[in-house]
């Protein structure tokens, strides 16, 4: 038996703002700096979804990557792409849309859609130089 990792890369772009509503403006500015602009800013996000498991002897696949692509498209991209993460995406109504939180949210969305026999890992690039992984 061979455990193999397969990856699908997708992208979306979105506006967001980082702030903590429990803090005053000054504390938010101090902690989140430019990311706290009340008129929002935005990013091109690159999303990498990693699945690890045994190769299915019948197909030779760990998972059909077209099916994985469709699952990501339907469950993540349609909700996130060209949106305002704070205003348009229900998961972030009470959750600061940092790259860390976005990755955790995407993990939980996809975990429900993907065979439990496959390990799932999310890597999310907010910029070319800033990216996060979950689970760590």
């Amino acid at each position: 038996m061979s455990r193999v990792s397969v990856f699908r890369r997708e992208h979306f772009n979105a506006a967001h703002r980082l702030f903590n509503p429990a803090w005053d403006e000054q504390t938010n500015d101090q902690v989140f700096g430019k990311c706290n602009n009340p008129n929002y800013h935005g990013h091109n996000y690159e999303l990498e979804v990693k699945l690890t498991g045994e190769i299915d002897p019948a197909t030779g696949y760990v998972m059909d990557l077209k099916k994985l692509s469709d699952i990501i498209e339907e469950n993540v991209l349609e909700k996130f792409d060209h949106k305002n993460l704070n205003l348009d995406v229900s998961y972030f109504v009470n959750l600061n849309p940092t790259a860390e939180h976005i990755a955790v949210v995407i993990y939980h969305i996809l975990r429900k859609e993907i065979d439990v026999k496959l390990d799932l890992k999310i890597r999310l690039y907010e910029t070319e130089r800033n990216f996060v992984e979950y689970p760590a």
Binding site: A15, K34, N37, N39, Y40, H41, G42, T127
Partner: protein, 136 residues
């Protein structure tokens, strides 16, 4: 003739929306980009100047100074901003990548010393979409 390019980057929110049109028409023309709550991008800006190297320095122009001028005149106004709401030189304009490239050209022409000849602005909105402007 030599060409020297400095690459800078910024990220921003925007929307493509013509206020003279109905919402239906905006959605028909601009699709997801018309989202009223904004979306956003990581922009990559390539600024190219042209000329001959100075005999004493070997420089076309001190590229560190070029970077400072680009940052002070353009990047500080654009980075982590809402292009439609926060940027004085985009006021009253459609915030397309085309118009943004032209506006950046006009800002830089004003800010660069007269002996520096601006050749091109190349502006990436996503890794797959960019525009070029040569001042024509």
């Amino acid at each position: 003739m030599l060409y020297l390019t400095r690459i800078e980057h910024f990220n921003a929110a925007h929307k493509l929306y013509n206020n003279d049109w109905s919402r239906e028409k905006n959605e028909e023309v601009f699709g997801k980009c018309a989202n009223e709550n904004w979306h956003g991008h990581n922009y990559e800006l390539y600024v190219t100047i042209k000329g001959e190297p100075h005999p004493e320095t070997g420089f076309l122009f001190d590229v560190k100074k070029l970077s400072v001028i680009i940052n002070q005149s353009v990047i500080e106004k654009l980075d982590h901003k809402n292009l439609n709401m926060d940027v004085d030189f985009m006021r009253g304009k459609m915030c397309s990548t085309e118009n943004l490239a032209k506006a950046i050209w006009q800002e830089l022409i004003r800010a660069l010393p007269p002996q520096v000849k601006l050749h091109a602005i190349k502006l990436y909105e996503t890794p797959r979409i960019y525009v070029e402007y040569f001042g024509e």
